[in-house]
Amino acid sequence: MIRNLLRVSCALTLIGLGLCLWALLVPQPIPVVVSMSIAQGIGTLAFALYLLVLFIDLRVKKTLERNGP
């Protein structure tokens, strides 16, 4: 599950980065508006997924430590 979440996060990051690159290479109204709105949202979602993975990871680690080897 963690690996899949990270894969989704990576894919979303790539989409967001692609939209940012589009605005840099084609400085027209739609690419610029998309990069400053949708791309930011996608990037934030990707980062949120990464944080979720960290949270799950820490919880699992804590549980394992509590239960002992």
């Binding site: 990576c10 990051t13 980065l17 940012c20 690159l21 605005a23 840099l24 400085p27 109204p29 990707a46």
Partner: protein, 205 residues
């Protein structure tokens, strides 16, 4: 391309390389992988987003960007025309305005000016792409469309303070000083220094 554009592209390249590496190589989820993913998903994308935003904002103040909507081309072409004697063209030849001439005159004035200007800009993008202007012939556009809000004298008064002795030697300036400062008489009106563009029309009531 500016230096910031290259920084944005570099951040995008590094972040894309790291995320693609994870997707393709499928490495074990150890500490190194997680740190590299932190760089690829958070650090470099945030750097890319910040620099892209600044570059994007800078782009939206360029005359070329305004001319990106075909109906604006007569206005931007006139402003860039070195032989034109319109108010817009004469100001655009001043390096203080230069290639940012549209933004310098049409940006709102005041504390939240940048935000208000961008919100107004979004309205125009909406009109263009979803309001039918995109398919409108330029001739129809020039005949039908009016400026959305009256041109503010405050914008002119950022440079022309209305207080210099030279300004006050002009009888019309002296006589209408209060009306000019109170926005009751527009600097860019036909009887004064305008219209700013050859196709200018007053704002709709």
């Amino acid at each position: 391309m500016t230096e910031l554009t290259w920084i944005a592209i570099a951040c995008i390249a590094v972040a894309a390389t790291l995320t693609l590496w994870f997707l393709i190589a499928n490495p074990p989820l150890n500490r190194t992988t997680k740190v590299l993913l932190l760089l690829g998903i958070a650090v470099f994308p945030i750097g890319a987003a910040l620099s892209t935003n600044v570059v994007g904002f800078e782009t939206t103040t360029q005359r070329k960007f305004c001319g990106g909507c075909h109906v604006m081309l007569p206005y931007t072409d006139d402003s860039a025309d070195l032989t034109s004697t319109t108010l817009a063209a004469r100001h655009a030849r001043n390096p203080m305005f230069g290639t940012h001439s549209c933004y310098k005159c049409h940006a709102n004035y005041g504390m939240y000016a940048t935000l208000l200007t961008k919100m107004g800009g979004m309205k125009h993008v909406y009109y263009y792409y979803l309001g039918g202007y995109r398919k409108m012939p330029i001739e129809t556009f020039l005949a039908e469309i009016h400026i959305s809000e009256p041109m503010q004298n405050n914008t002119c008064m950022q440079c022309h303070s209305t207080t210099t002795p030279y300004f006050l030697t002009v009888p019309d300036h002296k006589g209408a000083l209060t009306e000019i400062r109170d926005e009751k008489v527009s600097c860019a009106s036909a009887g004064c220094h305008g219209p700013a563009h050859p196709f200018s029309k007053k704002a709709r009531e």
